[in-house]
């Protein structure tokens, strides 16, 4: 029963990755990181519930709980930065900030 959960988790992760690299709206880009977090959470809990050796443990769920904490902190900081960038340029386009990259 481990395999279908891993398949679902990797599907969610890859869809989030595709959205992360292709979308240009800064808010959607951050939303796609949350989608990747969901894939990882499903994987972590699946590995804890159906371990390769031994009895099921709760370690995967604890790790996922800490991941939730990091996701909440990331959302707060990321959205604060996005609103700051929006107030600078009046647009959410990630392409408006291309001069930040190194030449």
């Amino acid at each position: 029963m481990l395999l279908p959960y891993l398949l679902v988790g990797s599907t969610l992760f890859v869809l989030g990755l595709v959205g992360f690299v292709t979308r240009r709206n800064l808010i959607i880009v951050f939303l796609c990181t949350e989608l990747m977090f969901h894939g990882i959470i499903v994987n972590l809990v699946a590995f804890g519930r159906y371990p390769l050796h031994g009895a099921p443990t709760l370690d995967g769920q604890i790790l996922a709980l800490f991941l939730l904490t990091v996701a909440a902190a990331e959302a707060a900081l990321g959205l604060a930065l996005v609103t700051l960038l929006f107030r600078y340029r009046g647009t959410l386009d990630a392409g408006a900030w291309t001069e930040l990259k190194e030449e």
Binding site: V18, R23, R24, H38, I62, A94
Partner: protein
């Protein structure tokens, strides 16, 4: 062995369908993208039916399908608000998957934190930054959709083939004993004994994030100057 072909067809059709469905992928995709994605969803069901066994598999397949559809609609929708709403669908389906894996407390926490806190913040910011008059050009045209979808589904095909290749060697799933059930009592006891340092560190992290967010959001005077500079220059 049928599964590799199912997975290959699933990844290929899903990738093409997703590329056609991306905003600006191929102009007017018409009916091709939904059709391809529907075939890919049917193949996903077939692959999951092959992989699952046991009484809970119908729920698993349903939740997986809802999550995949929500994720695809989320990354292809041109309206940010609808993307956020479809993400709630993904969060609900992930919650259901966690419930199936006996992780009740984590499922409740996920739904409360994502559906209740993070998504509300996202929708609030989207409303704050939303200009009137339809989707913006940067929402209607994705950046390098072909390359992004190709690389993403290359990774997915590698992951899926790796996952399914070792399936026969897996031990049969053990029933989660009393200690393996993710109830509030079990998770709480573990958090306050073995992982107590991690809980403290998480508190410090949240405090730092809060201070940082307030510090970033407070900068007002410099902002007007920056915008003037951008408009002039």
């Amino acid at each position: 062995m049928m599964t590799p072909f199912v997975l290959l067809a699933l990844v290929t059709l899903g990738g093409i369908g997703l590329f056609l469905a991306m905003p600006g992928g191929r102009g007017a995709p018409g009916r091709a993208a939904p059709l391809l994605l529907a075939i890919a969803a049917a193949l996903l069901i077939a692959a999951l039916v092959r992989l699952t066994a046991g009484p809970r598999n119908a729920w698993l397949i349903l939740l997986a399908l809802v999550g995949a559809v929500g994720a695809v609609r989320m990354i292809t929708h041109a309206q940010p608000v609808y993307s956020a709403l479809y993400f709630i669908l993904v969060a609900v389906s992930a919650t259901g998957l966690l419930v199936l894996m006996d992780a009740g407390f984590l499922a409740a926490a996920l739904l409360i934190i994502y559906g209740g806190a993070i998504l509300v913040t996202y929708v609030f910011v989207i409303m704050l930054a939303q200009q009137s008059g339809g989707p913006r050009p940067y929402d209607r045209q994705a950046r390098e959709p072909a390359l992004g979808v190709f690389c993403g589904f290359l990774i997915l095909s590698a992951l899926a083939s790796y996952i399914t290749a070792g399936g026969a060697a897996l031990p049969p799933p053990a029933p989660a004993g009393e200690a393996g059930i993710g109830s509030v009592a079990n998770v709480g006891a573990l958090l306050l004994t073995e992982y107590v340092v991690g809980v403290q560190l998480a508190g410090v992290l949240l405090l730092a994030a809060m201070v940082g967010a307030i510090a970033i959001a407070r900068r007002k005077a410099a902002l007007e100057e920056g915008r003037r500079h951008w408009e002039v220059g």
